[in-house]
Each structure stands twice: as structure tokens, then as C-alpha cells.
């Protein structure tokens, strides 16, 4: 973990971010318990990081809690699913001209202090999208058995498609530059988007780099994945990956 740095020093610590407008997109669905600490930690990490909470139709007062903290809250009129919620965040980033967008889950499993490590390849100009992964290094994460097998199979499959080693296709801890924001604002998978976005980025010739980060186990809320959903997840993602092989890029990004 990075040493806590006080308020104004984030830009002093890393002059590369000084001119960049940066946004944290926090998708939240019924995360009233966790949302406050997520926002506060983001602010403690970098006070100049703007935060937008995308409330995906929560019914537990998530947005009220977030609004009290003075961050921007976008309330979707009903639950549109994580894909639609994330895309709303990217559209917000595009409309407000942000240079850097970082996805941080509203449940607190992503440690804001790891953002410094996560955005490194983007600041270096080595990547358009950086994905924080639990497996790429010694981060001590162990998922349940069946889930681990599934994650590995998709990782293999995706690695073959994008011709690059991908270890964690399920991570929602990501950062993108302007090209990534433009792509995701116009095209983003509907549900269970993480695996497909990796392929999407590859198809549009953007560069993706995995960054080993430490993640926490969920503090509150429950992992909402039921057996039926895991089966649907597996079929849906496999189908999308397979059909995706026969698809041309749909969004044209202006040349960099």
C-alpha cells in the first residue's frame, strides 16, 4: 500500500497528473453502508480527484448518503445493471472533458490508495486502459473453487483472442485515458461487462495493461451472484465472446 500523503501533495508527489482532470466513477447499487467510506477514502487519497457516484436504482438511500458528502450523484431512474451504470459514468466523463477516469466499486473492495499504482501505465503512456488484477502478482487473493476455474477459463480464452496474457477478466478496478473514455461512452456491454470490455479494447487497437493490486474482501453487502446467475453469466459471456470474434469494431475513435 502507498504511504498516505496529505492533501495537496498528490500532484506534488506525481507531477504527471498535475494537468490532468481526473474522475473516479463509483457505481453503486444498494451500497448505503459502504458508500461514505469509499468517497471519503477517495478524497483522502486525492482531494482533486472528482467523484461521480452512479446510483443504479438503489432502494436503500445510497444516493442520499452520497449527496450529503457533496459529491456528484447521477441517479438512474431504475436498475439498468452494472454495464449501463458504468457507461453512464463514462458518458459523464466524456461530457465533462475528463482526461482520466477510474472505476472504483461502491462496495469498498477496491482500495483507493492503490489508484496510484493502477494509473501508472497510463501516466507513462504505455496503456489506454489499466486493469487492477488480483492474480498478476503476490496479492494473496483466493476466490472460491468453482469461481476460480471459471475466471481462469475466461482468462485463457480472452488471452487467446487479444494475444496478450490476461489473468483477471473479472476485475472492475480499472482506469482509462481519453481514448478509453470515448470508446466506453459510446460502446459498453450490457451486463457482466468486464470480460467483453477487454476484447472491445483490443478490437479498437487500444492498449491494455494489467497491474497487480491488493483488493479487500467485501466489508458490507453480499456477493449477489446466485447459481442461476453464474450459469447465465457463463453462457452469456461465452456467447458474446464467440460472436465477438466475427464482429468488426463498431465505434471509430479519432486518431490520436
Amino acid at each position: 500500500m502507498t504511504e498516505p500523503v496529505t492533501t495537496a501533495t498528490r500532484e506534488a508527489a506525481d507531477p504527471r497528473i498535475a494537468g490532468l482532470r481526473r474522475l473516479a466513477i463509483v457505481p453503486a447499487y444498494n451500497e448505503a453502508e459502504a458508500i461514505e467510506s469509499v468517497v471519503e477514502e477517495l478524497r483522502a487519497f486525492d482531494p482533486d480527484l472528482e467523484v461521480v457516484v452512479i446510483d443504479d436504482g438503489s432502494v436503500d438511500g445510497t444516493s442520499t448518503r452520497a449527496e450529503k458528502l457533496g459529491v456528484e450523484v447521477v441517479r438512474l431512474p431504475f436498475n439498468v445493471g452494472i454495464g449501463g451504470a458504468m457507461q453512464t459514468g463514462y458518458q459523464y466523463a466524456r461530457e465533462h472533458g475528463f482526461d482520466l477516469a477510474i472505476q472504483v466499486d461502491g462496495d469498498g473492495q477496491h482500495d483507493p490508495w492503490e489508484i496510484a499504482t493502477l494509473i501508472e501505465p497510463i501516466l507513462d503512456g504505455r496503456a489506454d486502459m489499466a486493469v487492477g488484477t488480483r492474480f498478476a502478482g503476490e496479492t494473496g487473493y483466493r476466490a472460491p473453487f468453482a469461481r476460480r476455474i471459471g475466471i481462469q477459463l475466461f482468462a485463457r480464452f480472452v488471452s487467446l483472442i487479444v494475444r496478450q496474457r490476461v489473468t483477471d477478466t473479472t476485475s472492475g478496478f480499472r482506469a482509462v485515458n481519453r481514448s478509453g473514455i470515448a470508446l466506453f461512452a459510446s460502446d459498453y456491454p450490457h451486463d457482466y461487462p468486464e470480460v467483453e470490455t477487454t476484447v472491445l479494447v483490443h478490437q479498437h487497437r487500444l492498449r491494455m495493461v494489467e497491474v497487480p493490486v491488493a483488493m479487500r474482501t467485501r466489508a458490507t453487502g453480499r456477493s449477489s451472484i446466485t447459481l442461476f446467475q453464474s450459469i447465465y453469466y457463463t453462457i452469456k459471456v461465452s456467447l458474446a465472446l464467440f460472436v465477438g470474434l466475427f464482429r468488426r469494431p463498431s465505434t471509430f475513435l479519432e486518431d490520436q
Partner: protein, 120 residues
């Protein structure tokens, strides 16, 4: 049962599967709504080709002529797809209502603000 009916059923199932694939590829059909259709096409295709299984199935449910079982099964799947669509339409109708309500409230709010601005 003649081979001919199996061949035609298999061809029909393959056409269905191809059309579904192309609809997904061209983004006119979401994966979510394609799964039931793919299952329908897949089951019809397997039973058309694997006539032993179809015979066993027909015998089990008491249908003398196995190809009838194939078409009854196909209609059953269509029934399931339709039922699924009814639930999807219900959800869409709910979401549509919520959107209309939110839009109407937003409009009245904007109008109120405008009147206040002009009154000043």
C-alpha cells in the same frame, strides 16, 4: 418415420441458428434474449439428427409418430419464448412508465425555474 422429415427439420433448425447468430453479430439481438432461441434451435437440431433419442422421447410421452413429438416440442419452446417475452414486455412497460413520470416531473421543474427567472 421417413428420413426426409428429419432432414427438413434439421435444415430448418440450422437456418434458425444461423439467423440468430447473424442477429447477435449485427447487434440487433442482445445475448440475453438470444439464449432461449439458441436453446430452441439447438434442441430441435439435435433431435432431428439423433432420431433414436427422438423415438425414445416420443415413446415415453405416448406419441406414435416421432416427428409429431419434434413439432410438439418445438411449439413448447415457442410457448416458453413467448412467456419470457411477456415478462420482458412487462418490465419494459414499468421502466417506460417510470421514465415518463421522471420526464414529466423534470419538465415541470424546469418550467417552474424558467418562470421564476423571467418573473425577476
Amino acid at each position: 418415420m421417413t428420413v426426409r422429415v428429419s432432414v427438413f427439420a434439421a435444415i430448418a433448425a440450422l437456418i434458425l441458428l444461423t439467423v440468430i447468430f447473424e442477429l447477435i453479430r449485427s447487434r440487433r439481438l442482445h445475448e440475453r434474449y438470444a439464449i432461449l432461441w439458441l436453446l430452441t434451435g439447438g434442441v430441435i437440431f439435435v433431435l432431428a439428427v439423433w432420431r433414436g433419442a427422438l423415438g425414445t422421447l416420443a415413446h415415453f410421452v405416448g406419441i406414435a409418430y416421432p416427428p409429431s413429438a419434434l413439432f410438439i416440442l418445438a411449439s413448447l419452446f415457442i410457448l416458453i419464448v413467448l412467456l419470457h417475452y411477456s415478462t420482458v414486455i412487462s418490465k419494459l412497460a414499468d421502466q417506460n412508465r417510470i421514465l415518463a413520470q421522471r420526464l414529466a416531473l423534470l419538465e415541470s421543474k424546469v418550467r417552474g425555474e424558467e418562470e421564476r427567472t423571467f418573473a425577476r
